[in-house]
């Protein structure tokens, strides 16, 4: 093998590795939440959101078309434009202990990778409350966020994939409510479709 061929081969290998890394990185940011679906039957209120691919792009396009003079809208636009996926599973129960520790551990097991960092934790064992916020580091940027709320009568996992401006999410104004028809309803199953990529 001559020098040129050897060099080319090395470049190709590096490209494949980078691609694989990028792909796995993207996949790391997205959690597998299907194991929680069985809780829908016991829950009094379910919120299930899966927005990615072209459906999320639809939303981004529509939001971006709105007049950005409104600061709230501007903020929303700045948050959503870099997102690649929004996944939420939220279950509210009438009674306590409707989900198991194993259900929550299965989520935490996906956050043990060195790239995930737990940045906030709040525990109240007496009240059986365990709330955590994880971020996926992508250099000096955030590549993903997981908010885990595991309380007596609630289990919520929020998974944002993409470049998430945490400060902007936290300060998002409340009155940016969706239209009435798509507002949460009790015992609502499968809020939105998701794009099969």
């Amino acid at each position: 093998m001559n020098l040129a061929t050897s060099k080319l081969t090395r470049i190709l290998i590096a490209a494949v590795l980078c691609f694989s890394f990028a792909r796995s990185f993207g996949q790391d940011a997205k959690l597998q939440l299907a194991n929680l679906d069985k809780l829908s039957e016991k829950a009094a209120r379910v919120t299930d959101v899966t927005l990615d691919g072209s459906l999320l792009q639809f939303a981004v396009n529509l939001i971006e078309k709105v007049d950005a003079e409104d600061k709230d809208v501007e903020q929303l636009q700045s948050i959503i434009k870099n997102l690649k996926g929004i996944y939420i599973k939220s279950f509210e129960f009438d009674e306590a202990s409707q989900y198991s520790k194993g259900d929550v551990d299965a989520i935490r097991a996906q956050l043990t990778s060195p790239r995930w960092s737990k940045i906030v934790q709040s525990m109240a064992k007496r009240h059986n409350e365990y709330d955590e916020i994880y971020i996926l580091k992508n250099g000096d940027r955030v590549g993903g966020v997981v908010i885990l709320v595991a309380e007596a009568r609630e289990l919520t996992v929020v998974n944002l994939v993409g470049d998430v401006p945490m400060d902007k999410v936290a300060s998002l104004e409340r009155h940016l409510a969706p239209s009435e028809k798509h507002a949460d309803k009790p015992k609502q199953k499968k809020e939105s479709g998701h794009d099969q990529e």
């Binding site: 959101v49 927005l51 939420i88 955590e132 908010i147 929020v158 940016l176 949460d184």
Partner: protein
């Protein structure tokens, strides 16, 4: 004034066309035969049908014109119908896409609202836990 049926029959007795009728006719027959031989043969199979039309050129022209008009109108109406149908389908698809997009937008806004709420919930709880004074924490909760 009265007349009988016999009077009527008498009035309508057959008449002869006169001398030379047959000769004049046969002359025309022979002429038409010669013309037919000189021209390309009209298909004998459809000869009866065609000859009927050939003797009524005005009818033939009228029928052809009507057929062309019917075909033209029909073709135009069909293309208009197709065009309208395509437009209708495109509009329906567009409306469907618009609805899906609006739904996705609403979902995104709701999702971000939930994320905001939960994030702040966790932050608030974490902050409260950091408070050294339990009493103050309880009051705040």
């Amino acid at each position: 004034m009265h007349f009988s049926e016999d009077d009527l029959r008498e009035a309508l007795k057959r008449k002869d066309p006169g001398e030379g009728f047959t000769q004049r006719l046969m002359a025309r027959v022979n002429q038409s035969k010669a013309e037919a031989l000189a021209q390309p043969v009209t298909k004998k199979v459809n000869g009866k049908f065609l000859s009927w039309w050939m003797h009524r050129p005005a009818w033939a022209v009228a029928v052809v014109a009507m057929l062309l008009l019917a075909v033209g109108i029909g073709g135009y109406q069909y293309s208009e119908y197709r065009h309208a149908e395509e437009n209708r389908i495109a509009r329906m698809k567009q409306q469907q896409l618009q609805r899906e997009a609006e739904r996705a937008r609403d979902q995104a806004i709701m999702a971000l609202e939930i994320a905001r709420a939960k994030m702040n919930h966790v932050l608030q709880h974490a902050q409260l836990q950091a408070e050294p004074n339990d009493k103050i924490r309880r009051e705040r909760l």
